[in-house]
Each structure stands twice: as structure tokens, then as C-alpha cells.
Symmetry: D2
Subunit: 408 residues, 4 copies
């Protein structure tokens, strides 16, 4: 048995198949992938990696399994899946997910291959575990898959606490010890035992508060959009394909972006934190509904149109349209007076937090500081935005007389 | 300048009038008053005192004043008020508040006297501060009183974090550093500066989650009700009056309860944690509306009636009817797009949390373990409760055939 | 199984005999005994109790037993002993230990009685455990007794971390998780496994740094000496005997001291933190060796002599002579290259810390602020102190010309 | 003023020249340099960077300056120096220091150039600060330079606490708040005020315990030695020179090591954590004294000789000879009874910790797992080691009969 010191869970004991998986190149790669990607440009201490998070998820899975009385081969499978659940992540974690998924097709297939091949596959087979089954657990399939990926999964419990610890933002401090201990199976579905409505709510609230403060902080979104744009250029202008990209770590990608002519400017901006700023920051309600359903190509079309209208280089306009807010935790199961209920049936908080999320749902148009006014004006016109409220304060505060007139 | 080590804020620097107030008997008494009263019977680590909390409130007040640019005599007054804000608390803090206020009349007058008399008054006058003005600040009056007592007061910021630290329940971990720094005055009203809707929400959420988990935990409520009952008996059967009670510390009251024949049994039960249990735990909706507005006498009448009906000693029935839930934080002011808004106008969370609070609002009837069934049955009948849902699971689980029939 | 939330170890699961012991009056009494006695007059947040500490010791004992592979009845015994280890403590914990032991004889016999009688005895027998055996374990006897009381006991591990957490002084933050996990038995003796010399040193260092900063802080020593003196008067002037005292909790003793004429002045001083100050603070080297070995009567004789010489009331002079410094941890066993060695054989730190402890070993003479000079002068003369270095700075700084001459 | 959230100091307020320096490429580069280099291969959470550390040092410098009453231009200079103090660090922080210094000459000159040139120079001059002066402060020169670099510098205070926080090893938790506040100047020398011998000792002890547990952990040393070897090869086989190396960040170096044929194998080993192991781990006393003073060339000569003797590729032998242990903190100044003393004159701990450090001083010979025995044997012979105690347990445990004979 190996004991690893962790800044969140203190000591993590690792044993059996997990112990052997630890030494595979696939898992070691996660040491070099930041957990929160560009969020570290907002919170400088947020340099934790997918590797330590994977250890944390494994640790909480072990505790959950013990509480649920799951042992033997069954537990081994869940533990392996917990440790491996992020092994398919590309560089900068979720930052480039949309990009690589668009280009490589389903993420799930990719994880299947990753677990079947290479050293991970060999270790799994050595321990008489079928890679296919582990991949299904990673995808949250089946009774036990819910522990790894689902409304009450240990992934969420670890990342909330870990991200809070490393950013210094206290909102993610849930009572993971209690949550893990109170997990139970009712009719094959994972639920929180009687008396845990508040615990379930606290999980929901933690994510609802971490979202705008950390995960969707405007500067994190801007830098992520810049990174995504740069990486698209890399894929278009070099022999790097989406599959290769997916297997890189952060250092690989940084190095390629620096050394590729087409991406060197974005790379410099990211390195020096010389970022684009918001030309437009609009509630999505203001936006013609169609844009959300738009495919990637439509969005690029909008960007080009805005750039043309504003008379600037197309590389200077980024249109950032986040997906419709979702709230997985709202369907968490909780036992109330002996019955299993979905949290959203039970808690008035669910609806309120969903409403809050929608009210924070913003479309952004970003460009270099010098062109904010021109780009903002064009974007309002091209996207047909309701002008009132659409331009962010950075622009508004610096409005010259002309724009003031324009806005009136 | 004196530096005091605090387990929450690390180092607290204390100076000027506050430094001198620290040595007064009135403030030193707070060392012997538990911050959370009987909550320590649920959370054994929750033994922090009003004294350390007062230091914490003073510390946050100093930070707030610095951020607001308030200096000199004006700052001295607020600092004194912050340090003294709990000086009027009787033993077991809020546990006996209702009792003493009922008997002594307005709390406010009492604080006025306390600050004007004795060593506190002498110290204040030595520093050219008028006790009357400080008492007004303690009561939250005037522009600067809001810092000490109001929707965004530093009292709340300290107790949430401190209670979380000492109970081990993480829900109270707000970002007090940010909150204090973002305070601003708009048209004489204390508000959070632009961009702090989430900060305001986090404060609200913290209290909403701490409430059922800590402050209104059923065992804390039961033991508090027992302590209140015992103290009433003490006032009735000895020469201790409400005013004397108010000046006691926890040790005084414990000793008197132990040595008074009429209260020795309650005292033993509290000492040995041999507590009453819930015979009824009913949503207040189930209850004839009138009971909430009932005065103390009506409630005692109900208790006696239930006891008679159940054939038990009246001392074995406690009816606990909490006040209508309130949510001070819902009217916090936040600057949004340049305008000051009340949080409830801005955040869908306010309504949801208020609804959640109402749904957790419970009336309790408590009695010794051996008589739960009889007392529960009588209480349902006397109070005219809707039977369904009114009896708590402890009773229900142990129901004999008779009661099962009764419930059907 | 019951789960208790603890501010240090987060969740403590308690089961079996320990679960039942929890509800005994003997254990519940520990809720009302401060862990650090008068230390809270120096560190206002240090209000933790023997009860939460007992839970922590139980928790670490469970972890140690699991690591050592001890199960069944054997483990039950150690767990019971861990939970009960402080059940014999009187009010204010160690503060009055010397006093009660002097008067009641051996502490050990007392614990034997406590565990055999009352509800604790009944619970133990219900679980087929012999009170006698548990009392031996509490005394550190036998192979497994070392876990509860010995150089590497879990008592020490809990109190260092807990006292650090509650005082805010970081020096006690040892790696208890590692220490507990690395415990092993070699030839029936408890030792730390190979590779843990630093771990053992860290335990030693933690206590060496906590000692002067917390446990023997001069203000804690003064207030403890005042409490001891008051309690002696109580025993002399009332029907309270040492045995009754030993069964009191803090509230009992506070109340008795307040209501007894002979002790009311000391009580007032402690309540208002209006403490004696140091008239003399002398390295013990300066002191005629004999004083250390002196019995209690000799010390009282000295006090009277000083008071007479200074012309003050004998109640105004306290002579505080701490015992010769000891360092239990210096004999901790550690496995080094396969052999068990005592830490003092292995680590140069042991000697250095011992030397440091001796250099901090101070005799104090305390009296009310107004008489420091007179009492200090008399004490120097009566005790035959080397004048240079004997008077504390408080006195020295306020020296008038006369005393300056005297000192020259 | 900008406020940055930090996981250690919570909120850091940054203003004036520091605020402007923050946006320079030179400082932003530190975001991509791990604070502890290869230590993250031992402690997976230790991914904090020189950037957040620099912010922390700046923060503590501000607090120290406030306490010392230093203001205006003088304070600006020290604050700038604090923020910039690590700007000269190359990739992997101290890991490659010896290497780059050997090749670039004096580090100090380099910092002078760095501060005078580029955007940092421009910002400094904009604020009327002379780069030369700031570089002197970074080097610890002059009265105020001691705050930035010296026995009691804020650099040390930040890194101990930060490294403890991120590794999870508690030994570094010093009371930095107290240390910073107690700094004072006596005759132009920085010292801790009266009553702080323990504070000074705690700083010393913290580093003494962090050293073997974190900074010089054997796996951290091995991986560091491998990285150093790889980087030497890079410098020999490519156009990268020491100066270019010094300006790289971690990602740059990782990418170059991966893409250079001569270093790809070391790079793979580091990426996959497939590390060399200890063939020899000898107390330096066992070693011919001369080796310590040996220059780099002599050590390489030894390595080649061992490889030849063992019949293995020279790339498979690394001889790691750490410098003679030093203990800067031993000369910290503390005021004792009004006089300034060096800590080593005052505290018996200094000598003991120095002795402990010497007893932990080890020479290592590392090689791939398959050749440990052969390399170990040759190293013992080539270096003329005292055999007893020289071979590490990994080797010893796997000894075949031959080696057993050899050892006898």
C-alpha cells in the first residue's frame, strides 16, 4: 500500500489495481494538466492538476464504497474508474473540450480506446478487469457508475472542495465527509439517506456560487476563448490533428502555440496576460434565440461579419456563446420521509438557482483593448442586440461623445 | 497596542478606547457566556464564547471602517460599539433572550444603562465618548450603526465564520474579507459595491444553511427549551429576578439551577444530556394559525392541557413554538449597474430561501422518552393538529398497534 | 453507530462500548471542564473541553488500532480506555492536579474507583469489560496501554493539534495522520516504524514550542497559581474536601469560589482578569537548589516570610515553583536501520530541547500590581536570590530611584 | 488598487509600482515556473508557482514595512524588490540553479540586467525608482535589503507556509503574522523584538523539519539530478545556451527536452515518473573529504569511472553530492534583555539542528532500477566508501549471494 500526502484529504491510501495504475504514463500525464485551465489567470494559486484531483476522487470513491458496503471485484472496478475518470482529458482540461469533441467525435469512444490500449489496458487486464466495463463506469453507466459520474458523484465532491482550497474562494467548502457517508442505494439508484435535504442543497449551492465566481469568471472565459481560438488556428495551420491534441499535456500545447507562426500572437498575449477585453457582455435574452443553437460555423461567420463591419482583423474578434446553463445536481435523489425524491421536487432552491444561473448567462464579444468601441458597436448591430444593457461597463465608462449619442 | 491571538482572524490588534474597554468586568463576563448556548450538546466543539466573538466583530469593524475611510472620533465610536455589542447578553446567549426580555421590558434600555454605568461608562467618558451614542450604534441606529447591527453588519460576518469554525459545519464559510472590503455608503445607507450580488447571496445562503444544521437543530432546540423552562421555574421559586438573571454568566445560572430544588431535575437532565425527545414535530401550517401569535400564557395553558390529557406531570410537557422565520439579509443593499437595490429585488434566491425556511418551520412538543406516545397523542388532539405528518419518526417507529389504529 | 462532528478531526464515528459510555454522567461532565484551564485568559479562543479532546483521543486510538491490526475485545478495551482516559480530571484540568493529588493520594486508585462504580462501571460490565483492566490501560500499563498513555500515545497527538487549533498558535500542528499510521509493535513495545525519526522529532519539537508559548505562558501560570491558592482556601474554610472537589466541574468550582467569603476576592480577580503580576521571575539556577524539592509546607512558609518582610497581607504573595522540566517524548522508540532506538540516542534535538527547557525554567513570585516592588525586594532577600536577572522587566521598568540603588 | 485572492494570505492588496510591475512579461513568466520543481513528483499537490510566492512575499513585505513605520519612496523600493526577488529564476526554480550559475557567472549581475532592461526597467523608471537600487535590495544589501533577503526575510516566511500548505506537510506552519509584526531595526540591523526567542526558533525548526521531508526528499533529489543531467545534455547538444535557458519557463524546457534526441530518454523518464533509484546513499563522513570541494568536472569524472567499472552506459550513473548544509537562520538577530544577540548564541537548538542536518547529509549515486547492484558496487569501490552503511536498503534487500559475500 502506498500513502500519498494530499493538500485536501491529507493522507490518501492507494492499493491494488489503483496502485499499479498510478505508474502508467496515461495517469502520470495528468500531472501536467491544470485542473482549471486559464482560471489561474484570475486566481494565481489555482495551479492544481488533474492528477491530484484524480487521487482525490479515488479517495472519496473508496470511502463511498466502504459506506455502501461494496467490496471485492466490484469495488476494484469503481476504484479504477474513479482514478481513471479524467484520463481522456486533453490539455487545459475543459477549456478545449468543445473543440476536440467537435473534431474527434464522441468522447466516450475515446475513453474506451484509452483504457483498452497501452499500459492502462495492460494493468487492468493484469488485475482481471475488463477495460470496457471500466469505461462504462467512467461514463456513469450502471448502478455503480453513478458513484463516478452522476448527480451525486464523488468527482463533483472533490473538485468543489479542491477548487475552493486552491483558489481561496470559500464557496465550495461542502461537507464531503457527510455527503460520502450518507450515500445509499434505493432501488438501484444512488441517493442521499433520510435527513439530507440540506446536504444536497449545499452541494447545489456550492456549485451555483462557484460558477460565476470561479468557473465562469469573465477573465477566465476571455482567456479560455483566446486559447480556443489559438488552438483552432494550430489545428488549421499545422499537422497537429484533434487526436494528437487530445493526448498532449499543457506544456506540449504551450510550446506548439509559441512556435507556430499563426498562433504566436495569441500565445504571447496569454503568456503576458495581455488579454482581450469585453466589447459586449449581453444577457442571452437580448440575443436572437437562434444564436445558441448555432453551430460553430455560424458563430465564426458572425465573428467575420463583426470584424468586417468594424474594419478590424478577424483575429481581433471573438464571439463567446456559452451553452444553456444546466444544473445536474437538481435531479439528485434524496430520501424524504421514506420516499426517494428528486431534489428539484423537494427544494425551492433548485428553481431559484436555475433562475439565477439564467440571469447570469451572458454572451461575450472580446477584442483587444484598443478596438473595444468599434467592435462593440458593430457587434450590437450585427447580432441585432438590444442596445440597452448590452455594452459592458469597461466600454461604457470610456465612451466618447459619439458613442454616447449612438447609445441614446 | 495589544495584539490578541484569535483562532479565526489570527491576530487582532486592539487599541485606544477598545483596549481600555477590554479590561472592564462587563466585557470580561462575556468570557463565561457560550456563544451558541446549548448547541454544544449537538456539536461538542462549539464552546466558543461571546468574548472572542466580540473581539472578532471589533476586528471586522476596524477593517470596514478603514475601507470606508472613517477615522478619528467617529471610528472610535463604532469600534467601541462593535466591541460592546453583546455586553447585554445574559447567560447562554440567545437561549433565554425571550424569557428575560419578556420580564425586563426593552433590551435596548438595558444596554443604555449598562453602557452608562459601571466601568464601561467610566472608560467611555474617559475617552470622551457618550454612552448614549454608543448604545444607539449598538442598536443599529444612524448611518454608522448599520455597520454594527443591520443587514450587512460585521456581527453576522463574524458569527457565521466563527460558528462554522467551531462546530466543524462548513456552511458558514463566507468570504468575510471581501464582504468587509466591498462595503460602501450610498446616500447614507450601507451597501455592497458593484459586482457583489454573489457576495450578498453567499451571506444569505450561509445563514440559510447554518440555520437548520446548527442554530435550529432539533436537539439544540429541545435542550434550549428545557433550559428555558428550568429558568422560568428558577425565577418563580427563588429571589432571582430577571434583571439579576441577565447579569449572570453561564456558571452562575448552572450553579443556581443545580442548587434549587424546583430545577434540580432539569439541571440533571441537561448536565447528563438526558434530554426530552420530540413527541410531535409539526409543520406550522398544520397548526391553527393563532398559536403563533399566542402569548406566553396561552402556550403554558396548552402545555398544561396536554399534560392533563396525557395524564403526566405538567413539567414533562414542553411546547416549543418558534417565531415566524425572518431573513434580515434579504433586504441587504447591493449596487447593481449603478443603482442601489435590495437583494430581494435582485436575487431569485431570496424568495426561494424564504420558502425553504418556512417549509422547515416546525412546532415541537417535547417530553421524557418514556411518555412520548401518550404526550404525542394528546398534543395532536389538544392542538388540533392534522395527524398526517405531525408525529415524528421516533414516535412513529415505536408505535404499538393501538397508536397505529389511532393514526389510521 | 453515531457520527459526531469535530472541529479538528471532522467526523468521528463512535460505536460499541464507546457509544454507550458517551451517555454516562461521568463522561458528560467533561463537557464542562476546560481543556486548558486558565490558558483562555491568554488565548481567548481556547475554550475547548476535555469532552471533545476525549472524543479525539478515542478517534486516534481507533485509527492506531486499525493500523496495528488489533481487533475484537482487545480493541474494545483500548477504545474504552482512550475515551475514558480523562474521566478522573477535576475542574480546570491540570490546574489543580497537584492540589488534589496531594490531598487525595494516588490519582490512579481514584480512576480505578471511578471506572468500577456508577454508570461507567455498569456500561463496561454490560460489554464484558473489566473496569480494572481499563483503568490499567488508562495508566499506560501493558502492551496496549502505551497507545493511551506513553511516549507515543494518541492523547499527546490529539492535544497538540487541538490546542494549536483553538489557541491559534501554529506550533502544535504535527502530522498526526502519519504518526498514528506509522505506529508498530517491536518486542511488545510501541515504536515508530523505519523512516520516522523526523516524525518523532516533530512531536518533540511541537511540545517544546507549545510549552513556553501556551502551556507555561506567564499569565497562564499566574492565573493558575491564583486559582490554586483560592481553591486551597476553599478546602480549608468550607466543608468541600479534595474528593468532592475532584468530582466538580468548572461551574461548580467557580460558583463555590464566588460564594465563599474567604475566596471571593480571588474569584473577583479571576473573573475580571485583574491578575497578580510578577514581582520576581528568576531562573531556577539562581535559586537555592533546595526549594525545588521543598514540600508544599516549605513553600507556604516562604510565602509568609516574604509577606511579613514586605509588610503585606500573606494572601498577596504567591510563590510558584514549577516542577523540574521533563520530556517524555525523549524516550520515544523509533526503528532505525532495523533496530529500535530511543529518540534521545538518535536525535541531537533531544538534548538541545532539554537544555532549552531548563533555560526557560522559572520561579515566579506574584502579587497585586501595587506591591510588586516591595514584594519583589523581600522575595529576593528571603529566597537568597542572585539579584541580577531576578526581577522581571515589569518591575524593573518602573523602578524608582530607591530600587535602582538597591539593585546596584 | 487591485485585490488578488491568494490561497495562503487570503486577500493581497497590490498598489503603486507593484501594481504596474505585475503586468510585465518578466513577472508573468513566473506563473509558469513551479515553486518546488520536481518536489511535485513526491507531493502531487505541490504545483504552486513562483508567481503566487512573489505575491506572498510582496504582501508580507508590506506588512513588515508598515510595522517598521517605513513609508514613501523607501517603502516603494522594498515592495518592488519583494515582488521582483525571484524574477531571475530559471525553469524549475532552484533545481537548475547550480547549472546555470556555473555557466552564466554571477546571478547577481543577471538580476541587475533583468531589472534594468525590458518592461520591468521601464516601469521602475516610470515610478522614479533606479533598477540598480532595487537589484541591490533583492541581493539583500543595505539596511532594508535584509527584509527581502537575509536571516529574517519575508521570502523565507512566505515559502515555509506556502510549501506546507501545498505539500500538505504541516511542519512549515510558522506564525508569520507574529514574525512580521515583531521585526525591528536595532543599529541598522533587522532583528526580532524582545520576547521572540521562541519565534526565531520556530522559524529555524520549521526549515529544519521541512528540509528532509520536502526539500531534500530522496525522490525529489533523484528527479532533480536527472533533470539537471538532461539539461546539461541539452546545453551540450543544441544551440540553447545557459542564458537562454535562464529565461525559459518550465513549459519551454520540457518541450526542448522532449524534442531533443539526446535528452528524450530522460524526458520520458521524468514524464512517466520512471525514475532512477539509489544505488548508494552514503553519509558524507564516509566519503573522502575532497569530493565535496570537487568541481563539476571531477564529479563527472567519477561518474564515468563508475559507469566503466560497472560496465554500463555513462548516462546511467548520476553522482549527486549536495553542498555542505548551511543554516542561515542560525544568525538571526533577537533582542534578549535589551541586547541584540545572534540566535546561535542564545539557543541550544541551533547547534542541535546543525548537527541533525549534518547527520542527514547524504551523497547519492543513482541509476536505473535494473543496474542498482552493479553500479552500487562500483561506486563503493571507485569512491572508496566505507562499505558498511553505504548501500541503501533497496539494493541491500535484493542482494544476491555474490554481493553478500562482497559485503562481508
Amino acid at each position: 500500500m502506498k500513502v500519498i500526502k494530499d493538500s485536501v484529504h491529507d493522507h490518501i491510501q492507494i492499493d491494488g489495481v489503483a496502485r499499479d495504475l498510478l505508474d502508467t504514463p496515461e495517469l502520470q500525464r495528468l500531472r501536467r494538466i491544470n485542473q482549471l485551465g486559464t482560471v489561474s489567470l484570475v486566481y494565481p494559486s489555482a495551479n492544481h492538476t488533474r492528477f491530484e484531483h484524480s487521487l482525490g476522487v479515488y479517495h472519496l470513491a473508496c470511502e463511498a464504497l466502504e459506506g455502501l458496503g461494496v467490496e471485492g471485484k466490484r469495488a476494484d472496478r469503481v476504484e479504477a474508474a474513479a482514478l481513471l475518470h479524467d484520463v481522456g482529458h486533453g490539455p487545459f482540461s475543459h477549456n478545449l473540450e468543445a473543440l476536440t469533441h467537435r473534431r474527434t467525435g464522441r468522447y466516450h469512444d475515446d475513453v474506451h480506446d484509452l483504457l483498452a490500449d497501452g499500459e492502462v489496458g495492460a494493468v487492468l487486464r493484469d488485475h482481471d478487469l475488463e477495460p470496457e466495463t471500466i469505461a462504462d463506469l467512467v461514463a456513469g453507466e450502471g448502478r455503480f457508475g453513478q458513484i463516478v459520474s452522476g448527480e451525486l458523484d464523488v468527482d463533483r465532491m472533490d473538485y468543489l472542495v479542491r477548487d475552493a482550497h486552491h483558489t481561496g474562494v470559500p464557496y465550495g467548502t461542502i461537507d464531503h465527509g457527510r455527503l460520502v457517508r450518507e450515500l445509499t442505494f434505493v432501488d438501484g439508484e444512488l441517493a442521499l439517506a433520510e435527513g439530507n435535504v440540506q446536504s444536497a442543497e449545499s452541494l447545489l449551492v456550492a456549485r451555483a456560487l462557484m460558477n460565476p465566481t470561479v468557473y465562469s469568471h469573465s477573465v477566465a472565459r476571455i482567456s479560455k476563448a483566446m486559447l480556443r481560438r489559438a488552438t483552432e488556428r494550430l489545428l488549421e495551420s499545422t499537422d497537429v490533428d484533434a487526436h494528437t491534441l487530445q493526448r498532449m499535456d499543457d506544456a506540449d500545447l504551450i510550446a506548439r502555440l509559441r512556435s507556430t507562426e499563426e498562433t504566436t500572437e495569441f500565445s504571447r498575449r496569454l503568456d503576458h496576460r495581455d488579454l482581450f477585453k469585453r466589447a459586449v457582455w449581453a444577457e442571452i435574452d437580448d440575443v436572437p434565440g437562434g444564436i445558441i443553437e448555432s453551430d460553430h460555423e455560424t458563430i465564426r461567420e458572425f465573428e467575420r461579419e463583426i470584424a468586417t463591419d468594424a474594419g478590424v482583423d478577424p483575429e481581433c474578434v471573438i464571439l463567446d456563446v456559452p451553452r444553456r446553463p444546466s444544473m445536474t445536481e437538481s435531479t439528485s435523489r434524496v430520501v424524504v420521509n421514506g420516499d426517494v425524491r428528486r431534489l428539484e421536487q423537494q427544494s425551492p432552491l433548485v428553481g431559484a438557482l436555475r433562475a439565477a444561473q439564467y440571469s447570469q448567462w451572458r454572451l461575450g464579444v472580446y477584442s483587444p483593448p484598443g478596438m473595444l468601441e468599434a467592435v462593440g458597436r458593430s457587434a450590437v448591430s450585427v447580432l441585432g442586440l438590444d442596445i440597452d444593457g448590452a455594452l459592458v461597463s469597461e466600454v461604457r465608462d470610456g465612451l466618447d461623445a459619439t458613442l454616447d449619442q449612438f447609445l441614446e
